[in-house]
Symmetry: C2
Subunit: 295 residues, 2 copies
DNA sequence: TAACTCTATTTCCAAATAGGAAACAATGTG
DNA sequence: CACATTGTTTCCTATTTGGAAATAGAGTTA
C-alpha cells in the first residue's frame, strides 16, 4: 500500500470535507479514496474519520494524526525540492490556474516555450474564470490579472505589465465615423465587459466616458471577435488584441490617451521551500514577458 | 511504488553499506532492494548512491536526502506511536534479540503470556549468543543478562534479578559423595561455562574455588543436561535450573552460600517516542518476573 | 411518510505491478 | 589470473491495484 499517497488523500479529504470531491479533483475513483483511507486506518489501528453518508468528522486521533501528516508531507516535499535544487534538473508537475482569456492568448506561447525548454516538467493547466480557492484545489500557481484579492496563504508577485487598447475594425470606423477624442465614444457601439471594474465607464479622458452598446459579454476574446466583425468598439487588454492589431484586423483608436495599467500576478502558496520547477517557471514567465515588451 | 519503504531501505543500505546485507536482514531479495533504490532515484531525478560492485558511496545529494529521510521516518514512527497511545491498542511488530539460553528458558513462558494477552502485537524473536549490533540490525529490544557493555544509542533497564545455583544429580552425589562446603568442589567434576566472567573460579566461599572438570561448554542449557545425566556439577543460573530443581531431576548444593547476583537488562534504542507496544512489553516483562519471584 | 439525492462502501473483474529465482556483469582480492 | 562477492537484469507468476457498477445509508424535499 502506498501510505504516503493515502496520507496525502487523508489530508485532502479533511480539507475538502468529502471523499467524492477529493476523488474528482485527484482524478481517481471514489472507491479508491474510500479503500485507501480505510487501509490507512487499518494500518494505524485507529479510526481517523467518523463518517456518515452526509458528513465527515475527524476523530480525536484523526486530528492529531492530521497535523503530523501535514508536517511530514511538507518535509517530504521540501526534501525533494532540495534534491532537485542540488541536481539542477527541474522535474515534476505544476498545476496551474489561469483566467480563460489570459490562457488562450498571452500565456499559450510562453507556456509552449517553457515546455520546449524544460522537457522534464509537466504542466496541468486549468483555465477558468471563476475565482476558485487555489489552496483547496492544490494549485501550485495561479495567474491573474490585476487581481489584488489574493487567497490567504499565497504570495503574489508581479510577472508582467499590460495596458488596454480601444479597438474597432476599419469597416466599422468607416461606416460610423472616426474616433478622435474620448467624447466621440459617446456616439458609438461600445461593448461592455461584465467583470470590468469600472462597469460601463471607460477610464479615458479627464473623468472617464460612460459608454453604451448592444453587447455585454464576460469574455474579452469574444468581444474582440465581435469587434473584428465590425459590430462595435472594445476596451480590450492589449495582450488579447495584440495579434489582431498586428494583422490589421482591427485598428486602435485613442492610442495616445492614458489608460489604467494592468498587472499580471503570479500567486503561489507560501512554503518554506518552493519546488525549483515552480520558481523556475515564475522566473521564466517574468523573463519571457520582459523580452516580449510586457516588462 | 511504496516510497516510504524505499526510503527505509535506502537508510538501511547506507548504514549497512551493502544492498545484500539489507536484503538478508529485511528478508527480501536483493533484486528487490536494487530495484526499489533505483526507483527512488528515478523518482527523485537524482542519483543517491555511487555504486561499484564492491563499495557504495553516498553522493552529495544522497547525503542531504539521507538526513532528511531519517528525520521524516522518525517523525512518521512518532506519529504512529502517538496514534496508538491515543488508541490504547498496541499493534505492530517487535524485533527482539535475546541470548539463546535465556530465550529457551526464562523468556519463553513470559513471551507466551504476552502474546496471549496482546493478540495484535507480533514478535520477531532472534535468539543468538553472538553479541551483534542491535542498532544495525534494527532490533527494537535486546535482552541480556548482566551485560553492562550497552550499545551506544541504547538505553538499559533492569528487568529482573537472578541468582546462580550449583546443581548436581542425586545419582552423581551418591556416587561421588556429598558437597557440603565450597572446598568440597575441588574433588568434583565441575563444568566450566565458556563465557563465564570468572572463568574456572566459581565465586563461592571466601575467595572463590578453582574448579576443574572434563567438560567445558558455551551453553548453560547443555551443561544442565549433562548435570541431569549425572556427569558432574554445574554453576547454573537459576532461571535455567529452576524447572529441573522443581522436578527433582537435579539437586542444589551449597544453597546457603552467597553467589554473585545477575540482572536481566532490557536494551532499547533512545527515541523521542518509543512505540507503545515496546514500553508495554518491557513493563509486562518486569511485572511478569516480579510475579514469578525474580523481582 | 415516501421519493429523491447525494454520500460512502462493497463487489467483481481486468490490468498492472510486485517480487523472487536465476543468469549476468562487474570489481576488488588472494 | 581465477575467485568470490556484489549489484543489475531478465523473465515469469502471484498478488495487488483500481475502476465501474451495484449497494447501502442519511439527510432533504414534496
Amino acid at each position: 500500500m502506498d501510505k504516503l499517497r493515502a496520507m496525502r488523500w487523508f489530508v485532502q479529504v479533511v480539507t475538502q470535507g468529502s471523499f467524492s470531491k477529493v476523488a474528482e479533483q485527484t482524478g481517481v475513483s471514489k472507491s479508491m479514496i474510500s479503500k485507501q483511507i480505510s487501509a490507512l486506518e487499518e494500518n494505524l489501528g485507529a479510526r481517523l474519520l467518523q463518517r456518515s453518508t452526509r458528513r465527515l468528522k475527524l476523530t480525536q486521533t484523526g486530528q492529531d494524526y492530521l497535523a503530523r501528516c501535514r508536517d511530514i508531507l511538507a518535509q517530504l516535499d521540501e526534501a525533494e525540492a532540495q534534491v532537485q535544487t542540488l541536481q539542477q534538473t527541474p522535474k515534476g508537475r505544476l498545476k496551474i490556474n489561469a483566467a480563460m482569456a489570459l490562457g488562450l492568448t498571452a500565456l499559450a506561447p510562453a507556456f509552449a516555450e517553457f515546455m520546449r525548454r524544460y522537457p522534464q516538467v509537466e504542466l496541468d493547466v486549468h483555465l477558468s474564470d471563476e475565482s476558485l480557492d487555489l489552496l483547496e484545489h492544490n494549485f501550485d500557481l495561479g495567474l491573474r490579472v490585476a487581481s489584488c484579492s489574493f487567497d490567504t496563504g499565497y504570495v503574489g508577485k508581479v510577472i508582467a505589465h499590460f495596458d488596454y487598447s480601444i479597438c474597432a475594425s476599419a469597416a466599422y470606423l468607416e461606416q460610423h465615423g472616426p474616433i478622435r477624442t474620448p467624447d466621440d465614444l459617446l456616439n458609438h457601439q461600445c461593448f461592455e465587459y461584465s467583470y470590468f471594474r469600472h462597469k460601463n465607464i471607460w477610464p479615458v479622458g479627464a473623468n472617464g466616458v460612460p459608454i453604451s452598446g448592444r453587447l455585454k459579454a464576460n469574455n474579452s476574446v469574444f468581444i474582440l471577435d465581435m469587434v473584428k466583425q465590425g459590430l462595435g468598439v472594445g476596451f480590450i487588454p492589449r495582450f488579447i488584441s495584440h495579434q489582431a492589431l498586428q494583422s490589421g484586423e482591427v485598428e486602435e483608436v485613442l492610442a495616445e490617451e492614458d489608460k489604467p495599467p494592468m498587472s499580471l500576478y503570479a500567486l503561489y502558496p507560501v512554503r518554506h521551500f518552493a519546488p525549483p520547477r515552480l520558481t523556475l517557471f515564475i522566473e521564466f514567465l517574468q523573463q519571457w514577458f520582459a523580452e516580449h515588451g510586457y516588462g
